[in-house]
């Protein structure tokens, strides 16, 4: 079987959509619970979280080159302890997949399919992603490549059109309430979502030169920061203080678009775009999970768990997160510390142990 290889362009797109995919659905609601006028400042701080993720990735690929995250843990910490930490990471990937599917399901259910049972919507999403994962990494990455040109046309058009209702006064005065609400609002997008970039480590061994991964993560951080600031400025500028009462503030900004007398409801395009990106994120995380299962349980192929794992993600998205409120609670009150421990603590531990072992081996020689 030939070695799976992905390009730098593919990993950049996959990481951009992996953060924006569900970030565009849930993050605006979470930010507006703390701050509205200064929401754009919280997204400038995404660079800090992105650089922390990049630093962890740089250390990991330097000390454990040409290995996926879970393979690196097993090599550094030994077959038993490495597998225990690998399982912990697998649970994290599974929870993120369930959360992402639940976010996508709620979004579609609330916006376009209010009469359809949520488990049917979730089922359609899970089957699509599981099939993409079953077909392999190339299909998962090609999805990102396919959707990006469409997104490059649709999203800028929608936001340019919604700017006709933008009122700069909605963004003033800047920092009137000080830095505290801004920093609290920044925790979820700039810690939780920024650390999700580290899913790239699970694909590191598929890159021709995995030392380029940190550079790619810096590019992704820059793209997401710029897009995030633009989204925040347009959304708050259009929707104003009422953004604090809306589950999907960006959707409301898009809904405000009317061209002439007849052309309206362009939000359908936005909803289609969000659905696509959520499914790309889900495919990326599910593929990473399947590859991790292969390494931890010594499976012959990721395909063995692609469909059955997809079924588990579907069931977990409904049984684990009983409502969108629970997703919001998880993202605000649980995920920041959970993600820091899992995505900073465990890879750094593996890096330290591996560096210590290498130094000890050199001394013996």
């Amino acid at each position: 079987m030939s070695k799976v290889q992905i390009s730098r362009f593919q990993i950049i797109l996959a990481l951009v959509w992996s953060v924006l995919g569900s970030g565009i659905v849930t993050a605006p609601f979470i930010i507006t619970q703390f701050v509205i006028r200064d929401a754009w400042i919280t997204l400038i701080l995404f660079t800090v979280g992105g650089l922390v993720s990049t630093s962890v990735a740089a250390l990991f690929v330097r000390v454990l080159p040409n290995r996926s995250l879970i393979c690196g843990l097993i090599d550094a910490l030994g077959p038993w302890l490495g597998r225990v930490f690998g399982l912990w990471i697998l649970v994290w990937m599974y929870l993120v997949s369930c959360k992402t599917l639940r976010e996508g399901t709620s979004f579609v259910g609330i916006t376009i399919l209010p009469q359809t049972p949520l488990y049917i919507i979730a089922f359609a999403g899970a089957i699509a992603c599981s099939y993409a994962v079953y077909m392999g990494a190339e299909v998962v990455m090609r999805n990102g490549e396919f959707i990006s040109p469409l997104a490059l046309i649709v999203f800028p058009t929608l936001f340019a059109l919604s700017m006709q209702h933008l009122d700069v006064q909605n963004l003033m005065p800047v920092l009137a309430d000080g830095w505290h609400p801004v920093l609290r609002a920044a925790v979820t997008p700039d810690v939780t979502y920024a650390l999700e970039l580290l899913i790239g480590l699970q694909f590191a061994h598929m890159l021709r030169n995995n030392r380029t991964l940190p550079k790619d993560m810096i590019i992704v951080t820059g793209i997401i920061t710029v897009l995030g600031i633009l989204l925040a400025v347009v959304t708050v500028g259009v929707v104003g203080q009422s953004a604090g009462y809306l589950q999907f503030p960006i959707l409301e900004a898009v809904r405000s678009i009317r061209i002439g007398r007849n052309l309206e409801r362009l939000d359908t395009l936005y909803i289609l775009g969000v659905m696509s990106t959520v499914l790309i994120k889900l495919s990326v995380f599910h593929y990473a999970w399947c590859e991790g299962m292969k390494d931890v349980f010594k499976l012959s192929s990721h395909r063995i768990v692609a469909l059955s794992g997809g079924l588990l993600v579907w069931a977990g998205s409904i049984a684990g997160f009983r409502s969108q409120l629970e997703v919001n609670h998880f993202m605000i009150s649980v995920a920041p510390a959970y993600f820091v421990v899992t995505l900073v603590g465990i890879p750094i531990l593996a890096v330290l142990v591996m560096a210590f072992r290498k130094r000890a081996k050199r001394r013996v020689c």
Binding site: Y119, F297, R303, I304, S308, E326, F330, S333, V334, P336
Partner: protein
Amino acid sequence: MIWLALVTVICIAAVDTNSLRQASRHEITVYAALVVLALAMSSLVSWHLWSDVHLIAPFDAMFGSMTKWLYEIL
């Protein structure tokens, strides 16, 4: 939901027939464990037991207070 889960289990078993025939015993064990977990979660929802079971509670207990502390220092 449990009916949809059962039908899907049969369908994916049909799709995976070739892989499962060549699979080793521990691979089939992993596969079966995932399917059983999925069916158990589906039955929780179908039989309305999910309101009593909070699957995310352990994570809430472990990391809720740490996150709260993070917000407090900010």
